[in-house]
């Protein structure tokens, strides 16, 4: 049993297994890049599933549409982490031991090494040793004596290679831990705020349109701050491509309504960093404003964000839902609720069919359908703010009573005398609030990993040996040998230089070499 465990552990921590796991990791990540993914685009996943039938359902069951949360993906990276730890820990111990141990004794036969040379020089043994010591400054050296007045020098260099290697791998583990902590304690929420001075407070989950919480976040202890979006401006190229977005914000921290608003210009690439959270400008759009005047003179203003159906021209769709004023009877109310739906074009083409030709609000126009009846707001069923319940239209409980194109200031009149005026459009911004307490540690480990990687790839662990034997009283025979621990590439030139300095310059004699 113990042997079995030991063998499994050895198998898991071997380089071969690590290689296979690396392959698996790359292979398993591939569907994440090729197939639509739930966290990125859920509607695309739905499209894909409808288009591929059984195959799509099968892929969904197996987690292929959320690869990076799939158990099999987790299995691979967890095994890889274990393999990594199992490899790094013993190697760290070895490295510490190697740091304290002496350079290994000179091999008996230096000519067997991949790099070697020998020469006869006119300098006595001591002289050669002195030169060698001077030349090998910065190397870890050890001089040993052999019988017959022979002296050897063992030298080692490049411990930073292994140190960097270990630092890189340890940092990878640290990086993974940081990512995991971020997933546990982080949160991310999206909210749309009208850019007309509307406010948003990070006081709880309910304030958000959507909210993704880490496992340890219950939504009670959010960072306390409030935002006020004063205005939004976008600039576009003649082609309709956007060239800049900026929202003018004010923000407060601490308890709500506690002081003046600090101004901030929120732009793409320039998130607002406040109270450990980050606020991003994700998107923008239009909210057409309608004033409904009822026959009795009562007015209601409808101002709700519409969503873009075309990202290039910002042609938008949506629904403004209005309860009639002064109605107490539920039954009457369910017959007289109003909905204004349709299309909004920031720059209308001017044709009978409203289309948008440019995203800036240069020539706004709406094409609206006005419905009257039961909007189903009290039905208890959730409904989209961008559309009306088509089921109610089909069942005749919601009836279309008008269809018209309106420019700002224009109005339409319903059969009962109610008028609907299009006042123009406000802009809205879509904001994202993100919280990740482990982000800095991820960055630190990433930088450490990079530094370690550079050390490990540029520094080479190499050994150099020298054996000097006395010859004819005043001269000596010098043999040298070299071995690079990791990769031979690149050591050749340094070895050549070493030889030149140690043998070539002492005595310009023919160097015997064999390779």
């Amino acid at each position: 049993m113990l042997a079995y465990l030991r063998n499994s552990w050895r198998g898991l921590t071997s380089m071969r297994t690590a290689l296979v796991l690396l392959f698996l990791l790359a292979l398993a990540a591939l569907p994440g890049a090729l197939l639509p993914q739930y966290p990125l685009n859920a509607s695309k996943v739905a499209d894909y599933k409808t288009a591929h039938g059984l195959w799509g359902t099968l892929l969904d069951k197996l987690g292929f549409f959320n690869v990076f949360a799939a158990p099999w993906f987790a299995a691979i990276y967890l095994l890889l982490s274990v393999s990594l730890i199992g490899c790094v820990v013993p190697r760290s111990v070895d490295h510490l031991r190697a740091l304290r141990s002496e350079p290994v004794p000179t091999p008996r036969n230096l000519s067997r090494l991949p790099h070697h040379a020998s020469s006869v020089v006119d300098v006595p043994v001591d002289g050669v040793l002195a030169t060698a010591r001077a030349r090998l400054r910065g190397w870890r050296t050890r001089v040993r004596e052999e019988p017959g007045g022979v002296a050897t020098v063992s030298a080692e260099k490049g411990f930073l290679h292994e140190a960097g290697n270990l630092a890189f791998h340890v940092s990878l583990i640290g990086l993974l831990v940081g990512i995991a902590l971020g997933k546990l304690f982080g949160y991310e929420g999206q909210v749309i705020v009208l850019a007309d001075g509307s406010q948003f407070c990070n006081s709880g989950i309910l304030g958000y349109d959507s909210f993704t919480a880490g496992l340890k976040v219950d939504g009670t202890d959010l960072a306390p701050f409030c935002l006020k979006v004063d205005s939004f401006a976008a600039h576009y190229l003649p082609s309709g491509e956007s060239s800049s977005f900026a929202a003018q914000l004010g923000y407060q921290t601490g308890t709500v309504e506690s002081g003046p608003w600090t101004p901030y210009t929120l732009e793409v690439n320039h998130p607002l960093r406040v109270e450990g959270d980050r606020v991003y400008l994700l998107g923008h759009g239009y909210a057409p404003k309608f004033t409904v005047t009822f026959p009795d003179g009562a007015q209601r203003v409808g101002l709700v964000q519409w969503r873009a159906v075309d990202g290039n021209t910002l042609l938008s769709e949506g629904a403004v839902k209005i309860d009639p004023p002064g109605v107490t009877s539920e039954a009457v109310r369910r017959r007289s609720q109003l909905a204004i739906t349709g299309l909004f074009a920031p720059t209308s083409s001017g044709g009978a069919l409203v289309t948008s030709i440019y995203p800036a609000p240069d020539n706004p126009e709406v094409a609206v359908d006005v419905y009257r009846g039961d909007l189903g707001l009290d039905s208890g069923r959730p409904q989209s703010i961008f559309s009306i319940d088509q089921g109610l239209v089909d069942s005749g409980r919601l009836v279309r009573v008008a269809r018209q194109n309106l420019r700002p200031g224009q109005q339409l009149r319903l059969d009962d005398g109610t008028t609907v005026r299009f006042d123009g459009a406000e802009q809205w911004v879509s904001l994202q609030v993100s919280h990740d307490p482990a982000q800095t540690s991820v960055l630190v480990f990433a930088v450490l990993a990079l530094v370690g990687l550079v050390c490990s790839l540029t520094v080479k662990r190499r050994r150099f040996w020298l054996r000097v034997s006395p010859r004819d009283g005043t001269g000596s025979v010098v043999e040298v040998g070299g071995l690079a621990r990791t990769d031979q590439a690149g050591y050749g030139e340094e070895f050549t230089r070493l030889c030149r300095d140690l043998i070539g310059l002492q005595a310009r004699k023919e160097v015997e070499h064999a390779g």
Partner: protein, 335 residues
């Protein structure tokens, strides 16, 4: 600031000229390749002035450099008497290298003009990015060649030129036709100094990895006995390894700066966007290559195959991800 259309036009002209010059250089390399003799290693003179035969494989005893030139190397300190002029292959090869240098200058010029015309780093779309990758690849190739010239082994290695310039020419051709977009400012998300840092790191890494990928592909072919006119498998392996060890940290840096940029532009440092996922896959592939290179039984062919896979993933990332899938990176004016 408005785009300077005249400068942009000159930039495009320089791009087209660079492409034409690369094609010419490639043709001359092809001529060199076909005119050149098969290598006869045993006839190679042992270079003087080199003290030791470093790293020579045991299978070729008594020959310090298996890839030693059969023709006089460029920087030979004491050239043997060549009766009259150089052999045609050598001449074609030298002309090819000279043209390649000219091509690099034009390529760099086109990028510089683009940048000046649009007042931003000249790698804001696929057209410019491809041009930058080509520039780095050819510069990396010339550096490799220069280093081998200094050690007197350039003549044989030069034959690689055909295979390095081939993907460069294809990439430039695609960039100039399918991927072409006129000079214009970039979208708000790209208006950041990280564009200069992240994308330049990505193009430097991609360019160097292109040279590595070509060397490893040829290594696989060479080690199976084909293409005997190429440099030795050993030399190809060395070029691939050196290039990969140089490019891997740069690629790592590119991914990390991408994450830092994403943190300020997209709301989180890692969002599994298709492009970053594939970049990570390529990173893992190259990590596997480096591990394979240090694992007994995986050196040589298996390692080279992994490097080729890594390169394939890079190409896939460059084209497929931008054309077929839509992610946050599909700004590049093509999808």
């Amino acid at each position: 600031m408005p785009v300077d259309m005249l400068l942009a036009r000159y930039g495009d002209l320089a791009f087209d000229s660079a492409l034409a010059v690369y094609v010419l250089a490639m043709l001359l390399h092809a001529a060199e390749f076909s005119l050149g003799r098969r290598l006869a290693p045993l006839a190679a003179p042992a270079p003087v002035g080199v003290l030791v035969g470093a790293g020579a494989p045991a299978t070729v005893p008594a020959v310090p450099h298996p890839d030693a030139p059969a023709v006089p190397p460029l920087a030979h300190p004491d050239p043997p008497a060549v009766p009259s002029g150089r052999p045609p292959a050598e001449r074609a090869g030298r002309m090819a290298v000279a043209l390649t240098v000219l091509g690099v200058l034009l390529n760099a010029g086109s990028l510089a003009l683009r940048g000046l015309a649009a007042h931003r780093p000249p790698w804001g779309n696929m057209y410019e990015f491809s041009g930058a990758i080509c520039l780095v690849a050819v510069v990396a190739w010339l550096v490799v060649l220069y280093r081998h010239t200094r050690s007197g082994r350039a003549a044989v290695l030069r034959r690689l030129g055909l295979y390095v310039l081939l993907p460069v020419v294809v990439l430039m051709l695609l960039a100039g036709t399918v991927l072409y977009v006129p000079a214009a400012p970039v979208m708000p998300a790209l208006q950041s100094y990280w564009l200069a840092i992240h994308v330049s790191a990505a193009s430097v890494a991609s360019g160097i990895l292109l040279v590595a990928g070509v060397s490893s592909t040829l290594f696989v072919l060479r080690s199976s006995g084909r293409l005997a006119r190429l440099p030795s498998a050993d030399a190809l392996d060395r070029v691939a390894y050196r290039a990969t060890t140089l490019a891997f940290p740069v690629w790592t840096f590119a991914i990390m700066t991408g994450a830092i940029w994403a943190e300020s532009a997209w709301g989180k440092y890692w969002g599994w966007d298709p492009k970053e996922t594939t970049a990570l896959i390529a990173w893992v592939a190259y990590a596997a290559y480096l591990h394979a290179r240090a694992t007994a039984g995986w050196r040589g062919r298996p390692a080279a195959v992994i490097n080729v896979i890594g390169f394939a993933v890079m190409l896939f990332n460059l084209f497929f991800i931008n054309f077929v899938t839509t992610g946050l990176h599909s700004y590049a004016g093509v999808g």
